[in-house]
């Protein structure tokens, strides 16, 4: 779409890939045993580890998705980044230290240790793999969309590039290399998103600071060409003169179908037709929280559900917990968390800038509904081409690919780790096979395009994690009465409810009104449901509380030096 800088964008992608593989290979020399592969030795300093956690955590959803949601849904979308960060606080307060002391690397390990049940362990493994896949799909999709938006390559190309690079890297180096790679990726991402934002803000200033929340819904700032890579249905609110595939025509008020492969040229000042399902919003409503901007259903409920999903879901994400084992002790784990909160907070200040400027300068993403593309589209839209915008776009592409690669590696390490422990044998060779399996499925799912913005898909992964692992971890750590049967019942009910809601939303069959709100943001009902079932079923089977619960609890809560031993 942004023609002039294709070569530079490709160079940026290649450089990031080379750097990732290069640092990964450097770390390879250090990876020897299975335990090295799964958890790096505990010699990582807090700042290094915090950078690595930040690097791994900032995914396509953070780098591209948040800006897109801010553009489409306004102030309410700010809860995504706030929740992404605050989830670490809940993790720190309730889960991090006891889990570290337990010596369980993963939630399945924890389930078996605490409840002594192989079936709960297998259930947890299944959920880890499911959540890992659900989180990997939008990363690969984001890669496909980003590469297409900047270089015109087909969607599968970007997804395949990311899948291949992370597979080679993870299968070759494991987490030790991942720690180096991830720390590097954090600083690359922060630079890549901040530098262009500053330049764009300066340009906006020079442009006479046009009102970011103007009264009217978005209009095209200039004569704008929109390439339709997919067939879309748009809603036109004011008749608009448009050149469709070279023929001048008028789109009347009402719904219109724009065919895949066609090109529409809109005149400057015309109201932007919005893709079906996204309502045109006045600037005033856009800037106000809980206004239902973008046509969001029941914004107060949706916000609460999002807050619950992100706050409580972070602790259950496969790639998050395992990082805390790289800390030598509890004090270092706390320092690491503080570092993570600071680093993530600093990063998340920036995507909002892209969302706000995008509404003004690149509203054409509202036509296609691919609001994730706004970050990459802005340099050209604001600066109008030329070497500066080409350089900034290349920098953003580099940052976006860093995001896809780092999060995918982290997810892949964890998902493959669970697969190798619970499905295959446990040797280094099996870990490599498990890695292939762990990446093949989400790649297969990412190729047929799903219409949901990446941050929303990621939000659903959080909801599933919050509805399953949050009750398991919180009750398992803080309540002696949890039984294997209770945990299994809670995991099954919470997992089924949240997964069904996710699948219905992903295929776009969620309907409207309350049904849509409850299915698109399920956490507000699935989390309490899972907690209730887990507690209720445990109380009903209280004669089966594990006999050694006292010792397990001591191990979880005793001062660390008593139970600290090197990982086996």
């Amino acid at each position: 779409m942004t023609g002039g800088s294709r070569g530079l964008d490709l160079v940026a992608v290649v450089l990031v890939v080379l750097a990732t593989v290069g640092i990964g290979t450097y770390g390879l020399r250090l990876a020897r045993t299975t335990s090295d592969f799964l958890v790096a030795s505990r010699s990582v300093t807090p700042l290094w580890n915090a950078s690595a956690i930040g690097g791994e955590y900032l995914s396509a959803a953070s780098f591209l998705g948040v800006a897109g949601l801010v553009l489409a849904y306004g102030a309410d979308a700010l809860w995504y980044p706030v929740g992404f960060v605050a989830g670490y606080l809940v993790l720190l307060l309730l889960v991090a230290a006891p889990l570290r002391r337990s010596g369980a690397y993963t939630v399945p390990d924890f389930a078996e240790l605490r409840l002594g049940s192989r079936s709960v362990r297998r259930l947890a493994s299944l959920l880890v793999v499911g959540i890992g896949w659900l989180y990997l799909v939008p990363q690969l999709q984001g890669a496909g969309l980003a590469l297409r938006a900047t270089t015109g390559a087909p969607v599968w190309a970007g997804a395949v590039v990311v899948a291949v690079v992370v597979t080679v890297n993870v299968a070759g180096g494991g987490m030790r290399s991942a720690t180096f790679v991830q720390a590097f990726q954090y600083w690359l991402k922060l630079t890549a998103i901040t530098v262009p934002a500053v330049v764009l803000l300066v340009a906006w200033h020079g442009d006479g600071r046009p009102d970011l929340a103007a009264a009217a819904p978005p209009v095209f700032p200039d004569r704008t060409t929109v390439q339709l890579d997919e067939t879309v249905r748009v809603l036109v609110e004011q008749p608009v003169d448009v050149v469709l595939d070279g023929r001048a025509t008028v789109l009347d008020r009402g719904p219109h179908r724009l065919e895949r492969g066609s090109t529409a040229v809109f005149p400057a000042g015309a109201r932007v037709p919005h893709v079906e399902g996204l309502a045109a919003t006045s600037g005033d409503a856009w800037a106000r929280p809980l206004s239902g901007a973008g046509g969001a259903e029941h914004p107060l409920y949706a916000t609460y559900a999002l807050v619950l999903a992100t706050f409580l879901g972070t602790m259950g994400l496969p790639h998050v917990l395992v990082r805390f084992y790289a800390n030598p002790d509890g004090a270092a784990a706390r320092r690491t968390t503080l570092g993570v909160l600071a680093l993530l907070g600093a990063f998340y200040l920036v995507p909002t800038v892209y969302g706000a400027l995008g509404r003004l300068y690149a509203p054409e993403v509202l036509v296609t509904g691919r609001t994730d593309a706004v970050v990459l589209a802005l340099p050209t839209a604001v600066l109008g081409g030329g070497p500066l915008s080409a350089a900034l776009e290349a920098l953003l592409v580099a940052g976006a690919f860093a995001a896809f690669l780092s999060t995918s590696s982290g997810l892949l390490v964890s998902t493959a780790g669970v697969l190798v422990q619970d499905v295959l044998g446990g040797s280094v060779a099996d870990f490599r096979r498990a890695t292939l399996l762990a990446v093949a499925v989400p790649l297969g799912l990412a190729l047929p395009a799903v219409d949901l913005p990446v941050a929303q898909t990621v939000g659903l992964a959080f909801a599933v994690a919050a509805s399953t692992f949050c009750p398991l971890l919180v009750l398992g750590i803080w309540w002696r009465g949890l039984t294997a049967a209770g945990a299994a019942a809670g995991l099954v009910v919470g997992g089924t409810a949240s997964t069904c809601a996710t699948v219905v939303t992903l295929v776009g069959a969620e309907g409207d009104g309350w049904t849509a709100a409850l299915l698109a943001q399920p956490a507000a009902w699935t989390v309490p449901l899972a907690f209730a079932v887990m507690v209720g079923a445990s109380v009903a089977t209280r004669s089966r509380v594990p006999a050694d619960v006292g010792r397990t609890m001591l191990r979880l809560h005793a001062p660390e030096p008593l139970v600290l031993s090197p990982p086996g």
Partner: protein
């Protein structure tokens, strides 16, 4: 799998000592201190976010007021959520450094005395290797 197995066998040998520690007033006190902080902190912090969301529902005009240039009250509050998250984590961290670690150290020293009289090696090994690691990181912390 292998990881959990190794570890349960490690702790099995020290069962009696652990049971004594668990029964001790000091350990029970430590658990109480921890719970008394962790649960109210979690509840308060969740309440703070949920209340904030609710307030925005009833103070819409106020939320749309512009503070500086294009930045409205809602956005400033949004930023403050990051700050409050960090502040709570910082307070917890300080509290844990001041209240948990010294008690934990005291219990450890007491246990070290106990352990030398029992013929149990794994726990002794880990107890003696742990302190240098802690010293090392506390130096790193002051630099960071």
């Amino acid at each position: 799998m292998s990881t959990t197995d190794t570890r349960s066998s490690t702790s099995a040998g020290g069962g009696e000592t652990f049971a004594q520690v668990q029964a001790s007033d000091e350990f029970q006190g430590l658990k109480r201190t921890l719970r008394r902080f962790v649960f109210p902190a979690t509840v308060l912090f969740l309440a703070w976010y949920l209340l904030y969301v609710l307030l925005t529902a009833y103070a819409r005009g106020f939320m749309a007021d512009k503070v500086v240039g294009e930045v409205n009250v809602a956005y400033v509050f949004g930023l403050l959520q990051f700050v409050s998250t960090f502040a709570i984590a910082y307070v917890y961290s300080q509290y844990a450094d001041r209240h948990f670690d010294p008690t934990a150290d005291a219990i450890r020293h007491r246990l070290e005395g106990t352990v030398t009289t029992t013929p149990h090696t794994p726990t002794t090994t880990t107890t003696t290797t742990a302190p240098p690691t802690i010293d090392l990181t506390s130096k790193t912390e002051t630099r960071a």
